[in-house]
Each structure stands twice: as C-alpha cells, then as structure tokens.
C-alpha cells in the first residue's frame, strides 16, 4: 500500500465530489418529479396513459443503466435531426445526458415504489377521511400521500443509495466525477488498488450520510412518538 500516494490523491478526488453530488441531486430531483407524475397517471383509469407508463417503466427497469447512458449520449448524437434540433445544446453536453439518463432510470424505479406505497394505504383510512367530509383531492393530499411517503421511505432510501453509486457510470461519457478522476489518477500512477480503495471509502462516506438522513426521516415520520 502506497500511503503517500493515497494521501496526495485525496484532494484531487475530493475536488470531484461537487460533480458527483450535482449528478445525484439533479437526478433525484428530476426523477422524483417524473416518478410522482407517472405514478399518479399509472393509477388513473385512462388506459393508453397507463400502458405508456407501464412501457416506460418496463424499458428503463429492464435495461442496464450503462446501455441507457450510451444510447442517450453516443446514440442520439448520430442523428442529424437531433443535432439540428433545439434540444442539441442540452444533449451536446455530457452532463445533461448523464442527468437525463440517471433521472429517467431512477424515475422508473421510484414510480413503482410510489405506486406500491399509494396502493398500500388502507381503504378504510380513505373512507374515514371521506366520511369526515373531505373531498377526494383533499383526502389524497392530507391522508393518502403522507401515509404513502412514510411507507415508501425505506425502499426509496435504497434507491438514493443506488443512485449515488450509479453516478459513477457518468465517467464512461467523459464526466470527471469521482470515478472518472479515480480512473485518471490510476492511468497516471498505475495504482489501481490504492486509488479505488480511496474512491470506495468516499462513496461509503456519502452513503453513510444518506442512510443516516433516511433513518432520521423515517423516525420523524413515525405516527406515534
């Protein structure tokens, strides 16, 4: 073990943290919005929409994230129609392609997590709310959604941790996030073991913070005390 190299590489790796965090937070935010909308539509009675959402979830859960990133980055860029479209300034940048792919991916998983949580809310609670005179929307906002959020939090915590790790795949499309920088240092020093250990420890630290935050959230959402 080359401790000096590890110590000297630490600042360079930490300098890549902002980009990793940007990817994770942007993907979780966009993915959250996607999941909320798609989960509601998925539970609607409008058949074509339900099938569209089902197809989306099937496609993005059923294919590897790496394939999705490559398709969005290298695949779309090959079409002239895409390169001349208004979307190109976004799709030209690897950052936006990475965020888009991560968002669509986590959106598909979170959609299913949220749907399950919404469906698990006991019918009796909704009926009670309705009996108190709440409208359907109000009952959904005050009763169903809070209960569903509480239900989904442990599973969603899993998804957050998976996203932190999935952000490393952005290094395959030239993004210099944590893994990208680690690979660059390895390319210069040939010290695979030391540098990846260090990168692994940083990911562990990130996920330790994430899991503690989720636990805190779970505690606060406990119904009694």
């Amino acid at each position: 073990m080359n401790w000096t190299l590890m110590w000297d590489s630490l600042p360079r790796l930490l300098a890549a943290l902002p980009l990793t965090l940007t990817l994770v937070f942007a993907a979780l935010a966009c993915g959250g919005v996607i999941a909320f909308v798609t989960a509601l539509l998925r539970l609607s009675d409008y058949r074509p929409l339900v099938w569209t959402i089902k197809t989306y979830v099937f496609a993005f859960r059923g294919t590897p994230l790496l394939v999705q990133i490559f398709l969005l980055y290298y695949g779309l860029g090959q079409f002239d129609a895409v390169r001349t479209s208004v979307l190109w300034p976004f799709l030209r940048e690897p950052l936006w392609c990475a965020i888009l792919a991560l968002s669509l991916n986590t959106g598909a998983y979170t959609c299913e997590i949220l749907r399950g949580a919404l469906q698990s809310v006991p019918a009796g609670q909704v009926e009670a709310a309705r009996a108190c005179g709440m409208s359907r929307t109000l009952a959904f906002r005050r009763i169903v959604l809070p209960i569903a959020f509480r239900q989904m939090l442990p599973t969603y915590g899993n998804e957050i941790i998976l996203m932190v790790k999935a952000s490393s795949l952005a290094s395959t499309i030239t993004m210099m996030e944590l893994t990208g920088v680690a690979r660059k240092i390895i390319a210069q020093s040939f010290a695979v073991f030391e540098i990846f250990i260090l990168a692994g420890v940083i990911y562990l630290a990130l996920n330790f913070v994430a899991s503690q935050a989720i636990r805190l959230g779970e505690k606060r959402l406990q119904p009694c005390g």
Binding site: G77, R92, T174, A187, F190
Partner: protein
Amino acid sequence: MNNTLLALAFGALLPCLALSQPAEAKDWSKIRIASEGAYAPWNGMDPSGKLIGFEIDLAQSLCKRMQADCEIVAQDWDGMIPALQQGKYDAIMAAMSITDERKAVMDFAGPYGTEPSAFSVLADSPLGQVVFASKRVNLSAPDATGEAALAELVKALKGKSIGVQTSTIQANFVDKYLPDVSVRTYDKLDSASIDLLAGRVDAILGDRSVIEALGASQGGKMVQFGPDFVRGVLGDGFGIGLRKADADLKAKFNDALAAATADGTVSKLSLQHFGYDVSVK
C-alpha cells in the same frame, strides 16, 4: 453457531482465493499476450470479434520464432498495465509507447514500430483553414519552424475542446503543451471520433495511422489538422510491455524481434497493414 457460519463463509471463499493466484509459466513455452482490439490498423477486431492487425500478425510471427504457444487476448486499454503486473498475461502488444513514466513500473522489449501523433478535425471546421510553418515537429529538439508551428497550434486551439484516449502519450501531450483547451478523455479513440462527428469536441488527437483509418471509415468527413508530432513527451516508439521481473522473456522477445526485422518480416507486415513502413530505423 456463529463459528460454524464463519467457517462456512470462509470455506465458500477459498476457491476464489485459489483462483486469484496467477499461473506461473517460467519456461515461456506458453505466453499470454494482451492487445486492445480498438486501434486499427495496429490492432483491431473483425466482425466476429477475432483480434486482427499488424501487432497480432507480428506477435504470431515472434511466437513462432520463440517456439512458444501464444494466446492473444483482448483487454481494455484502461487497466492494461495493472493487469500485466498482476499476472493476467505476460506481455502487451497494443501500440504502447515506451515512455519514462511507464518504464518506472514496467519493462519493454523493442521498439518494433513508431509513428507520429496527429490531430483530426471535421472537414468543414474553421480549424482546417489554419496554415502551419512545419509539417513535422520533433518535440525532443524542435527547430525554429517547429516552435512556430507549436505556437500556432496553441493559438488555434485556445478555448477549444479536444478528445484523447485516457492514459496515452497524446493525453500527456495535451496536458503539457495545451493548457488552454478543455480535454475530454475517452476509453477508446473510436468513442472520441464519434463525439468529433457529433460536434461535441473540436478535434481529436491520436496516432496518425489510427486517425487516418478513422477518417477513411467516415468517407472524408474528418481531415488531419496541423503538423505531425514525434518524440519528446510522445515517447520513442511502441514496445512490447513486460513485467520488470521477466528479463529472460525480454531477451527472448528482443532476439525474435531482431530476427524478424533482419529477414524483412516486420517491413512486410507493415506494408501489408499500413501501406508504408512503420518499423523503427
């Protein structure tokens, strides 16, 4: 109870530990050689996934001379040197330049080939209009026109983005001479050329024959830009990468290479794959 579980867990791990020991083959009747397979015409892959190219043919010729049974394996460029040191294979023939940084961690037989580095831009790029004072710049000892061409290059590429393959002499070149460009590093030069065609990078830098091969496969959409660059940070030709401990294998490779150069095999293979002679004179 807990101890039983622990014992079971370790028992399950044992075969993995045993497998991770590199197979020793000290008489060199069997040699494993790694190549990349994404760097034609040096090393490429045919549609069925079989390795082909100058280095593959040369490796087979060298093995015949060493009376060794060779297995040539495809390995990603990224991580090729660490895997050599771990004993996953015994030699690297993958257009790997002999540089001081690499010599600090490994050894080389050869060199068996050399060629300049060159930039490629899109045919309709304004960069194609720039005129340079020199056609070839020797970075070890640049003359006046070489210095002028280098200065023109720095000016022309200021603020542009350049694609290179990670952990290559070209990446070192950009780091050293072009501080004002944004560098994107790719695992393969093929990927960099896809991004050049998509307009994500303004230029790519690689070994000249590979740049030319990529340009030819795109039917004139990519053109060479600027002069050729040789020596200095770009190293002293391509060598056969070996572990430092295997001095006997280095001697074997060097003998075989000398024989193959003497009887014209290297030149013949070179003409066949490149159309010109890449052997080191």
